[in-house]
Assembly symmetry: C2
Homo-oligomer: 430 residues x 2
Amino acid sequence: MFGARCLLRALRSCTSAPCPRHKPSARLSVRDALGARSTNGERVKVQGWIRSVRSQKEVLFLHVNDGSSLESLQVVADSSFDSRELAFGSSVEVQGQLVKSPSKKQNVELKAEKIEIVGNCDAKDSGFVHIHTPIITSNDCEGAGELFQVEPSSKIKVPEENFFNVPAFLTVSGQLHLEVMSGAFTQVFTFGPTFRAENSQSRRHLAEFYMVEAEISFVESLQDLMQVMEGLFKTATMMVLSNCTEDVELCHKFIAPGQKDRLEHMLKNNFLIISYTEAVEILKQASQNFTFTPEWGVDLHTEHEKYLVKHCGNIPVFVINYPLALKPFYMRDNEDGPQHTVAAVDLLVPGVGELFGGSLREERYHFLEQQLARSGLTEAYQWYLDLRRFGSVPHGGFGMGFERYLQCILGIDNIKDVIPFPRFTHSCVL
Amino acid sequence: MFGARCLLRALRSCTSAPCPRHKPSARLSVRDALGARSTNGERVKVQGWIRSVRSQKEVLFLHVNDGSSLESLQVVADSSFDSRELAFGSSVEVQGQLVKSPSKKQNVELKAEKIEIVGNCDAKDSGFVHIHTPIITSNDCEGAGELFQVEPSSKIKVPEENFFNVPAFLTVSGQLHLEVMSGAFTQVFTFGPTFRAENSQSRRHLAEFYMVEAEISFVESLQDLMQVMEGLFKTATMMVLSNCTEDVELCHKFIAPGQKDRLEHMLKNNFLIISYTEAVEILKQASQNFTFTPEWGVDLHTEHEKYLVKHCGNIPVFVINYPLALKPFYMRDNEDGPQHTVAAVDLLVPGVGELFGGSLREERYHFLEQQLARSGLTEAYQWYLDLRRFGSVPHGGFGMGFERYLQCILGIDNIKDVIPFPRFTHSCVL
């Protein structure tokens, strides 16, 4: 599946942050190298990260990118340069001659005379443990989600008896199951289908969609969570760009002209952070007329989300600390006085609006107990409360809609166009 | 998820078959090397396949296995030996000194003086394309499966109106959707949850389980299909053994003593092939009394499957060419006279029975049309019939139950013990 593998690899991997060292001699950015008109053997130096490696008998091909362009520069080297350290993600400094490429795929390439590894990238599968959370569940994680119920087809006429003895639903999130597993594996993730029985014909909703969800034990601040979220977005996108270049180019060229620059803009900049309270203030001061009047204590609508992203210069923006009353029982109480908030975080991105949702989880027994009581869920979630009785730790997590992610990076307007068999109200073809 | 990644990697990868060359000097099997009593620097030669590589600054660790033992031999080499060709799956010949290992993990290790690469293994992600087939479907692939029906929970009382306009079910197989995609991508696979509303409390059934399913265009014989199936089983198992050694050891030591030898036996031998007709003959001649009398035209039961595997010396056995009347409409007609069969194949394995099921698909329009008419499915499967009108090709595929696979390699008796959140009749915990 387009991009899914990159996402999984991004989550499984821990990459050591490369730290480029500075050299006195002049250098060329990848963008400038690619745009070079005269290529009569001038000597240049390019610094960047390896996006792909192809090792042949007598020659080694690297694609190097430094963020100045979505396109990478092809580096051609003698096979004697080949080493295990020249791996995806390693940062390198390449010196050599910029020459005309014999291939039609690019105008120029860099004939390497010297390749120095600046920062190793030993990306082992050692970060997050992949858990298959169940599809059929007796929980309703969001508390008030639009659920699909599941019963054997022949029994649908005898609703007094349940196949599983209890009412069973299609999962709306693997979060609670991940929380169980994070109590043993510290860092876990799931990637699988989730469901909403929402009567929606919108361009960003599906009845069946994929989510990547992660849960991390011993996390004590939203800052730490946001770092993982931003890292996941950027790493996965870099991997998609390097592994599926042609597919992405196709979308950018024919479906979403201008998207290439917009994406580059997102990757180059640090994501912004504003509080929900600040967000409401920004919306209130907006000259734009909204269908839904922005007000503290009321949820943000798509029109608000899109305005906020634009307001932030089309850079993805984290909105944090939402009113407690708006959020489900498991989010961590900020204990912050009259305007009572929880440690929730949403990431809003250009074109799509909400892409990630996450929070610190309430790890304190008595706080959680009170929240459950207030929601009338104490009995149903006794098992969840028990997780706070036996070795509870501060923890948090997030989920990212996979189809919305594809919309965001490819610039595809309708979510039904990024999934092979879309399911939505009134439609379940094949 | 335990083993899942290995499965996916095994399917995505095309490994070139390594072809060991023979040398005149004496050699030691990995088993003999591991069992060596005296290790006072004797010079030996070991040939096998690389199961793992760990490259450090000044030293390189390889684990080499030749099939003589489930355990691998650790080879320790100078980092100057390091090269990209020393990769997972490459075959090597290592000469050096067998010495006592300083680590407690093994008694001996091979200090390499010479490492020769016999056969390269360039395992790129270039084999099968991963497709996410949908969970909710309006099809019933097996024709007579026990289906779960899906409706919004609030609407379950108004069954005259469907959320999707048509009755919708949880998928029992991604096959038909894969067939759509195989018409463009040639080789595709899916790995995801599938469902059966079977009222079963058996040790090998779940209401929600994972299947890896593959579909291959331009396949014209069961032989070709069986080669992929055997290759998948063996490659995935080798990868699990090398990547999750400690987990497997734990199961083999404490849960299933003797399983290590049984698994070795499966990996070392070529899988057998018998026809359904031969299978029935074997069962009829058995001295054992079966609960269900074996008879041509009747499906094989678990007791039959287990007997057949035992009869074949506890080597996995393919049973091919089943009666047409027993199998769904999409299987390819063998046109073989009075005892009318289709090109179906099941793989039976020790301890579990049926692990894989597959077939050539009926690619001929008129044969398929007749089969659909006979099953009264012509209208519902018009779209499927259409696939035979536009660029139809001979093709085939198979599915493997993932939890049964884990049962088989780990020697775990109850399927509920190889999945974190098992779902079955009367039980949907959390």
